[in-house]
């Protein structure tokens, strides 16, 4: 057990910081600020290429798959450093899709997809939810049928974020309608520019764009099926476990909270220094403690991965804790700012350039996304503590 970085890890952090010092410009940050994570402007594209050129999207993959052979802790450090600078790190394609290809994919799957993902050239929208299959993903009805050496796909996926900027869709489809619902599901990689795909934008309260994507007689080569046919459910749940872990970097909250504390200590709001009020200090301290706990929960998951374990329960705990903390940071933050807490980030007087109000609108997503927290509490109780399923 060790709560400090090793010399090797400190050298890695230095390398990351040197890279970010060189690559992150004010112009890049402005592009991100105005575009959000759903727009890939020219500067973001260039930045992603610089990251991909170093192989950092696959930094914790085994060398045989084009990775750098670093550990989950080092990946967490990269995500933290990138988040601290406000630039995008590895997305779900690298952190959740690729590990499932490594674990379950055929040799052809690995050769087809992993090198491009490691370089950042392949990015996937993840096609799980459908208009009638949300939290109960296993009831999905998008169909894929084999026609010669091609899969023919028909259906629709919702909450299909980044479909409009991705190169591929990591698509979950039903390949055996006669089988029980968990046993007839497969995963197919679909080039997003395939004929028959129509992407309709949906705009969330957070301003971010997500999509409703239609598939009408979309044809892809048979080899694009991942692993074995009808075995896809375990690939999805495995990927979702990893997705929860990847979503849970506490660094964004750390940065916002540190900036909020600095604001309360230095700025006068209507002539008042907020940190002079005991109740403000008390609330900030309570948030600081919780953000620290969120960091530790993530690091425990990363440590378990390093030990060769799949940290389903710790990563699930981290996801619940952090997503609810995120809402609390935003809620308390807006309250501390009083009437200024409602100022939209476009308003010139918005404290902290409106990041708190944006966080307030972004936070609900993390609570219901990647497994609603209610379902995840069931996971902890049932898989983690051995309590019976509700129907038994």
């Amino acid at each position: 057990m060790r709560f400090d970085y090793t010399d090797k890890q400190l050298a890695w952090r230095d390398e990351l910081r040197t890279f970010l010092d060189r690559e992150v410009s004010d112009e890049l940050l402005e592009e991100i600020r105005h575009g959000g994570s759903d727009v890939r402007g020219p500067l973001v594209t260039r930045f992603r290429k610089a990251v991909g050129d170093r192989g950092w999207y696959g930094l914790n993959w085994p060398v045989e798959y084009g990775g750098l052979g670093l550990t989950a802790v080092e990946q967490q450090m990269l995500i933290d450093e990138f988040t601290a600078r406000g630039v995008p790190g590895p997305d779900l394609t690298a952190t959740s899709v690729a590990p499932m290809i490594m674990r379950h994919g055929t040799e052809a799957n690995k050769a087809d997809w992993l090198p491009g993902i490691a370089r950042g050239e392949i990015t996937c929208a993840v096609g799980y939810s459908e208009p009638d299959a949300g939290t109960d993903v296993a009831s999905l009805s998008t169909r894929a049928e084999l026609d010669g050496d091609e899969w023919v796909i028909n259906g629709a996926k919702i909450w299909n974020s980044i479909a409009h900027i991705a190169t591929h869709e990591w698509l979950c489809v039903r390949t055996d309608p006669a089988a029980p619902k968990h046993k007839g599901i497969s995963v197919i990689m679909v080039p997003i520019d395939s004929p028959g795909i129509e992407i309709q934008p949906l705009v969330a309260w957070s301003d971010l764009r997500t999509n409703l994507t239609y598939f009408a007689d979309v044809r892809v080569p048979a080899r694009n099926l991942i692993g074995e046919v009808n075995r896809g459910w375990s690939y999805i749940t495995g990927a979702l476990d990893l997705e929860r872990g990847a979503l849970a970097s506490a660094m964004q909250l750390r940065v916002i909270l540190d900036d909020l504390m600095a604001f309360c200590s230095t700025h006068l709001l209507d002539g008042v220094r907020l940190a002079d009020r005991a109740e403000v200090r008390h609330r900030l301290a309570a948030l600081d403690a919780d953000v620290e706990v969120a960091r530790l929960l993530n690091l425990e998951s990363a440590s378990l991965i390093e030990d060769g374990q799949v940290p389903t329960i710790p990563a699930t705990e981290a996801k619940i804790f952090q997503s609810e903390l995120r809402q609390r940071v935003a809620d308390w933050g807006t309250q501390l700012l009083g009437m200024y807490g409602q100022l939209d980030w476009h308003d010139r007087e918005a404290p902290l350039r409106g990041r708190i109000e944006r966080l307030y609108r972004e936070a609900p997503l993390m609570r219901f996304g990647a497994g609603a927290n209610e379902v995840l509490r069931d996971v902890i109780a049932q898989r983690g503590q051995g309590l019976p399923r509700h129907d038994r």
Partner: protein, 381 residues
């Protein structure tokens, strides 16, 4: 960076768990309570000696086991699970203070005897709610002797202790105020104690010192505010707090396990109540709280073992443990219903300990005030 325990640490915890489950049963815990607290049975004490618990954090050269503060914390966690008599904690806190502050002769004498189970001690070096205020005891120097006077509240296990380590404020006309740490051999002339009635029925005392005369030999530390030795006292206070956290984590884990056992087996409406989602969500929330508290506690202990003050990490750990332990017990009461409410069901023993440990070393307001200070958020006014 590695937040998982090593195999030897896990094995040590496991063997200690087995020993304590055998030697520190809930029947024993209950028998040690009011009205007349029985002394801790020699069998338990010698078992603790045998596994090296009482010498764990001390160097081999003074008779200890050469473990770290984190190792001791892992032992406290196990002790907390079974509600180990608090004599263990007060003696270890006493030993840590002697080890840190006293000269080598005193260390060798006292630490060696603690490790062998031949000596028990207690201490009053800061306010029991964790604040490092001016000591409540005054020390005047006259005719070659110190004379101590004052009242100490909530001192644990005084009547079972061979020594009391106490902080006092000097009061000398010609010199600025200093703090002296005095080692009192008990019983001592002028020292009286009376037990307070706590709802946990543990042994806490109000101690009165009336003109207690000691020689310079008894003063193991004399220091100014802001000095390195004052820093040592601060470290001791944080180490004690972090160890208490480890005890709380263990207690909370034990309560969660009891609760799980109950909701798995208790049937209502034709099924185990643990199958209801409303029950499962409460269980999940307790688990998340306990795991966060556990990690925060290990972090504080690890940095303290590195010699750091770890002010922020210690306070965060205490804030987490306060809430996690209490929530585990109160959720346990809700999920057990009447079956956990009766005294004969034992659950209340943990519920009382959760509240006592929350208040000792400071509840949430104390922790948030300290944390705000550690974050540099102090008021300018």
């Amino acid at each position: 960076m590695k937040l998982t325990l090593t195999s030897p640490q896990i094995e040590y915890q496991h063997s200690l768990r087995q020993l304590l489950e055998r030697e520190c049963t809930v029947e024993l815990v209950r028998s040690l309570r009011n009205p007349d607290p029985a002394p801790v049975p020699p069998q338990l004490w010698s078992a603790l000696v045998r596994v090296g618990f009482l010498g764990l954090p001390f160097d081999g050269e003074v008779g200890g086991e050469g473990g770290s503060l984190l190792d001791l914390g892992l032992a406290y966690q196990e002790a907390g699970r079974v509600l180990c008599p608090t004599d263990v904690y007060s003696t270890m806190a006493f030993g840590l203070a002697v080890d840190r502050l006293a000269d080598d002769d005193v260390r060798k004498d006292l630490i060696g005897r603690i490790a062998q189970g031949q000596l028990r001690g207690t201490s009053a070096l800061w306010h029991p709610d964790g604040e490092l205020d001016r000591p409540a005891v005054q020390a005047r120097y006259a005719a070659g002797r110190w004379r101590l006077s004052g009242r100490l509240g909530f001192v644990p296990n005084v009547e079972a202790s061979d020594y009391l380590l106490v902080a006092a404020q000097t009061s000398e006309p010609t010199r600025p105020e200093q703090t002296v740490i005095v080692l009192l051999r008990l019983p001592a002339e002028g020292v009286t104690s009376s037990r307070v009635m706590t709802f946990g029925r543990d042994s806490q005392f109000t101690v009165d010192l009336r003109d207690v005369a000691v020689t310079d030999d008894a003063v193991i530390s004399r220091h100014d505010a802001g000095s390195a030795e004052a820093g040592s006292v601060h470290w001791l206070r944080n180490a004690d707090l972090a160890l208490r956290c480890a005890e709380m984590v263990g207690g909370a884990q034990a309560v969660l396990e009891r609760t799980l056992d109950y909701v798995r087996t208790r049937h209502q409406f034709g099924r185990p109540i643990g199958g209801f989602q409303a029950v499962q969500h409460q269980v999940a929330d307790v688990r998340i709280g306990v795991d966060g508290a556990r990690l925060a506690t290990y972090q504080a202990l690890w940095w303290l073992a590195e010699g750091e003050l770890a002010e922020r990490f210690t306070v965060i750990a205490k804030a987490c443990c306060n809430e996690a332990y209490k929530r585990a017990t109160l959720t346990a009461h809700q999920l057990h219903g009447g079956m956990g409410y009766l005294r004969e069901t034992d659950l209340h023993l943990w519920s009382e300990r959760a509240k006592v440990t929350e208040l000792t070393g400071g509840a949430v307001d104390v922790q948030m005030r300290r944390l705000a200070g550690a974050l540099g958020l102090g008021a300018t006014a």
